[in-house]
Every structure is written in C-alpha cells, then in structure tokens.
Symmetry: C2
Subunit: 376 residues, 2 copies
C-alpha cells in the first residue's frame, strides 16, 4: 500500500517525524542524566514503542492494566501503572506479577495503601508501590509536605510491601505557553517531587525512584538533580496543543488524519470531508489556547500546511473545512470532490484512540499498517 491507495479516513504517522521526535526527547534526557520511561497511552502501538525502546527508553508507563498486559505479552517487563490502584484491580495486577512482569503500582491515599498491603500479604506478594505526589494541584497525589505522605509510606513498608519511590505529573504545564513559565513549572515539578523523596528518606523510608514528567515539562527542564526518571507520552507524535504550548513546530507533528472531500456548500465557503469527530476525536484542546485550530489544521495530502484552513465543525463522519476569518468563495475549485487532505489533530492521544490502526508513512509514501488496541 501507499498513501495514494489508502481508504479514508486514516490515521497517518509520518515515520521520519516520529523518529526525530523520539531522538529529540531521548537526547535531551540523556544529556540531563536521567532514564526515560515513555507513556505508551498515546499510541498503544507496539511498533511505536519498539522505536522508543530502540532509541534508549527504559521501561514504559501505562494508563490501564490492559496496556500492561499487552506490552508485557510483547516482551516488556518494566512497567509502571500510573493510575491510582483500587482493591478491585489487585487481582489483575497480581496475575501480571506472577507471570514475571515487574509491574509497579501507584497509591496516593491510606485506604489504597492498606488494601494493597492486605491483599499482598494474603497472596504472598510484595507489591512495589510508588506514592503519587501532587506538585501543582492539577489532579491526584499527596502534597510533598503532608503528613499523609509519610503515613502512606509507613503503611506500605510496615505492611510488607516494597516502597519503590515517588511519581508526579505536572499536568498543569499544559496551561502555559512561554519558555519562562514552562521552565518554572518544570522546576516546580522537579523540586516538589525531590522534596517528597527527601522527606520519605528522612523518615527512614526508602525512595529509590523519583519519577516525574509531562511532555511540556520534560522538554523544558534544564536541571533534573534528584530525579531518576522522566515520563512523557505525546511528544512522540506531538499535536496542535503542544504547538500552541510552544514545544514543537507544526512540522514536527507526526500524526495526521487523511481525508477525502465529499461535497461543498460553496456560498458558505465550506468543503465537506469524510473526517468527522469519529476520525479526529471530540478533543478541542486548542479552543482554550491562544490559537484555536477547530478540529484540526488542514494540509495537502503531502503534508504541506494550508495556512488558515481548519476543520471548523464536525459531526460523526462529516467534517467542515473552511477558511478561518473570511469564507473562501473558491473552495469548491480549490478542493474539488475527491481531493485528499491531511488534518493535524488537537490531541494525538485522543485522535489515535479513534483508530484501530495507524498507517505508517515512509519517506517515499509507502504505507504500513501499525495496529493499536483500545479498551480496558
């Protein structure tokens, strides 16, 4: 297959850009002297993760136990499940560990810590647990200065579990778009997580791993003292949200959706395409950023950006391509029925999830199906 013969809509990966993105992150973190553990939730695709590991990544991060199962079946042992563990999922985690998976789990509260320890003792399993740290008020985690941090650590150790370290994610980094602000939030993510590790150690608790990460902070960090590993996911594809944040160029975005023009409303300046929200996802991450790209930035089939043309609205299998600002009265001539376009997405994790497979596009336009999975 090649790009000209693909059915539309299709999720394309520009393999050259993907490899460049992988190399950039790996080189940056190598230079800072930390291990890199990519978050595979972005692609859930073995071909992509193989390329990340070949470039130097050590272990993976997952957002579901299904990801852990699938990638462990594919030969990856070192896995952290970075979502708070609940009692009902401990059986699934135990099964993975019993098969030889070096699965690390996460807790940020005493109920979970006690439940993990009780279940572990009952089944003769010393779970390795990392404590989630809240570094920016974004979502989960315990504050680095809290008494709860020490209480959770002690509950795990006294309960016979392995306290493996601390883990943080500065999710609020997505809200910034200047180099200074990103460097500041990256510094905060580092210092607060290191502080949590120091407090655990001061309380005579172990904390070998100090894990942080998000794509914006990982790429903005210039000092990772005290950190042992960084996690990031979306950097491998990048997207319009990351472009607005300022950590990539449009020409770095490796994921796009190939689509076909199916009709027009000429007087409105609309071309209708067969990439609706089912193909793009409903993610409108750029809506609250400085530059709103609608459901995506329109490019030619070859990937050349068509400045000003965006997918301005979407139904399930219909997208409306229009020129932002002033309607294009010549849109039907510009993009006749059958014209093929590429759309750069708001959010690579969300757009990828809509597709059973990627089409990996090589330098000469050849296309190879790279399957991805979904579900829990």
């Amino acid at each position: 297959m090649d790009i000209q013969t693909l059915n539309t809509p299709a999720a394309l990966i520009d393999v050259r850009r993907m490899r460049r993105n992988i190399d950039r992150m790996q080189a940056h973190l190598d230079a800072l002297g930390v291990r890199f553990r990519p978050h595979v939730k972005t692609t859930k695709c073995r071909h992509v993760v193989d390329a990340q590991i070949a470039a130097g990544a050590q272990g993976i991060t997952v957002s579901t136990l299904k990801e852990a199962e699938q990638f462990f079946a594919g030969g990856i042992r070192d896995i952290v499940y970075a979502v708070g563990m609940v009692p009902a999922k401990l059986g699934q985690a135990l099964a993975l560990r019993r098969q030889g998976c070096d699965l690390k789990i996460v807790a940020d509260n005493l109920q979970a810590a006690h439940a993990i320890a009780a279940f572990g003792r009952e089944h003769g399993e010393r779970f390795e647990v990392w404590i989630e740290i809240d570094v920016d008020g974004h979502r989960s985690g315990v504050p680095p200065e809290s008494g709860l941090l020490i209480a959770i650590g002690r509950a795990l150790v006294d309960g016979g579990m392995v306290l493996g370290g601390v883990l943080a994610h500065a999710g609020s980094s997505y809200e910034y778009d200047t180099r200074e602000a990103l460097a500041a939030i990256a510094g905060q993510e580092r210092s607060r997580t290191v502080r949590a590790a120091e407090r655990l150690r001061a309380a005579a608790l172990p904390c070998p791993t100090v894990s942080i990460g998000s794509t914006p902070t990982a790429l903005s960090a210039n000092n990772l003292d005290g950190i042992t590993e960084v996690r990031a996911g979306v950097y491998v594809m990048f997207d319009l949200v990351m472009h607005n944040i300022g950590v990539c160029e449009l020409s770095d975005i490796a994921l796009s959706v190939l689509t076909t023009v199916i009709g027009h409303q000429e007087e409105k300046g609309w071309a209708i395409v067969d990439a609706g929200w089912m193909a793009m996802s409903r993610d409108r991450g750029t809506q609250r950023q400085a530059r709103d790209f609608g459901y995506g930035q329109v490019c030619t089939e070859d990937g050349e950006v068509l400045g000003g043309y965006v997918v301005s609205a979407a139904n399930q299998e219909h997208g409306i391509v229009s020129r932002a600002g002033s309607p294009d009265p010549g849109i039907a001539q510009r993009f006749p029925v059958g014209t093929r376009l590429r759309i750069l997405p708001n959010h690579a994790c969300a757009t990828g999830a809509q597709h059973p497979e990627y089409q990996a596009i090589g330098e000469n336009g050849d296309a190879h199906a790279w399957p991805r999975f979904y579900g829990w």
Copy 2:
C-alpha cells in the same frame, strides 16, 4: 458476570430502558404511518440492532461502509450509506452490491453523480442513489428549490443509475429545546424534503423514497405526509444532550459508564474516578446547552441520579467528580475509595465509540458482553 463483578470503566446498557426507547420510537412512527430505518452508527452493535429490527424497524442506516459490511455479513440487506459517496469508495460499494447487499448510496453534487454513473456503467452496475437535501443549512445537501437538484437527478437517470429518492437530516434540531421549536424544525424537515421529491417528480424523475430524520425531529413530528421513512440513531440510548433538548427524561438514558473511585482531593471536594475522557469521550455537548453536565451526570452503581454531582473535568484515565456550585467537604466519606458509580454521558454515539463492548445489564443485574466494532 453481574454488575458487581465487572471491571471498570465499562459501558453499561440498561436493557429495560433500551427496549422502552425502541418501543417508543417504533410505536410513534407506526402511528404516523411511515417505515423506520434506525441509524446504527450510535451503537455499531448487532445485539442492539437485532432488538430494533425485532421491534419493527425496516432496514438500517450506516455512516461508514464498514458498518454496511459488518451488518450485511450479519444478514441485513437493506442498507443506506448516508454519507456523500466519493469515487474512491465506489469499489467497496460495488463489492457489497455484488454480494447481494441492497446498498443505497447518496450524492449531493454533480461530480459525484457523474462519477457514480460512469463507474456503474463501466462495471455494469445500476447503483441506487438517493439525493441529499439540505433542509436547514446544517451541513450537506442541495436546497429543495435549486436547479442542481434536478440536474443531479437527471445526471443519474441519464447515466443509467436508479434514482431511489431523497434523504434529509435536520441536524440543526439539536439546537432547540422547546416543544414548539422542535415541532417547527420537524415540520420544516418534512415539508422541504417533500418539496424536493415533488420537484423531481414534476421533472418526470422518479422519487419513490422520501427519507428524513434525527432523533429530536422524529420524536417531535406529528404529521409525516409525503414521507416514506424516518431515520434516527441516538434515541435507542438517549443521553444528556437529548435530555436538555427535551426529548427524554434522565431515567430514559440507557447508556452509562461504570466507574470506581480511586482517590480524593478532600479540600477541593473532589473524588477521582477511573472514567476519564477515554471512557466518557471528549464530547461536551451539554456545554453549549442550558444545563452543562460537564463530562457526565453521576449516579449510584444502581443508577440512581445523584443530583448536582457531575464529572467536572477529565484526563485520559482520570475523571474528577465534584458537586456543581459548592464543593462537598464530605466527598471522601460520601464516596470512599472503591465506591462504584455510574456516569450518564453527554453523547451516546461518542461514548459508545470508546468501548470495544457494551455490558448489557438485565433486570436482576446480570451482565452480558455485547461487542461493538469501530474503524473504517
């Protein structure tokens, strides 16, 4: 399996509500004397479509040729692909017809009509084509009064194809929320589509099928003179957008996402759950309606609505449950770690699409996996 043993997140169908929704639509359209052709894009699930057909539906509507292939393989012959045909997909449509599928395709422009006719003649296939009518400026279609309507009809007939009828979808009905406004847009959808059919017939062109539909207009119509069939999709599940429009009660919503509380941020009044946007979808359809339900309305595991509690924010595998208006300082006691909740979604089509299967929940809480498919 039963609901207590399901892994989370999971997409639940309340089978009793689903059957009630199916019976309501079928009885309404039976009383108005028209055929009903459900849109299967909402569920892409054979079990659901079987129930729709058993209740009296005649044929199906699809949004992708993959849906046509899957449901034809399952024994359904009468299928309309309700997205504008493009030349590159004619081979796939031809293959379906050659296998015995009574596939109808749609066009709203001369380029497509000529391409269909040329391809059909080349392959000795008389494609049945319906012309899409624009009844509300919402998306695709030709205006009923346009010369283009007659030109497309003539191009198809002169080109040797079967002109099967006209098809319209009043997508703008989603923007109304009063009985009067919905009755008015339903009347407009009917009258403009019937007008298009009359104009074709007056030009000595055939127009046996006159097909309209959307869930809000289908349920609001009280006169379907001149219409031969109605299409609707989301009515089978309903959702919060339909509730805000006013065509269902919260207690009619048959789709929900089962989730587990994984942690808290007590001082913020947050419970963190394992249903993020991957499980709920990124659809925020209620954001621009009179009542914004965030990423979903929270219910107990048994389905009882917990008034005021919504999923106020979502990351990929994390949702934040909070009380709209004033934070609940007792949220950690109200929903301890491990608590299971159900979330009613904004948009059943988008939420369903995130899941490889539904769990069909019977009257006594038994759960049966009903697979669904995705992709193109």
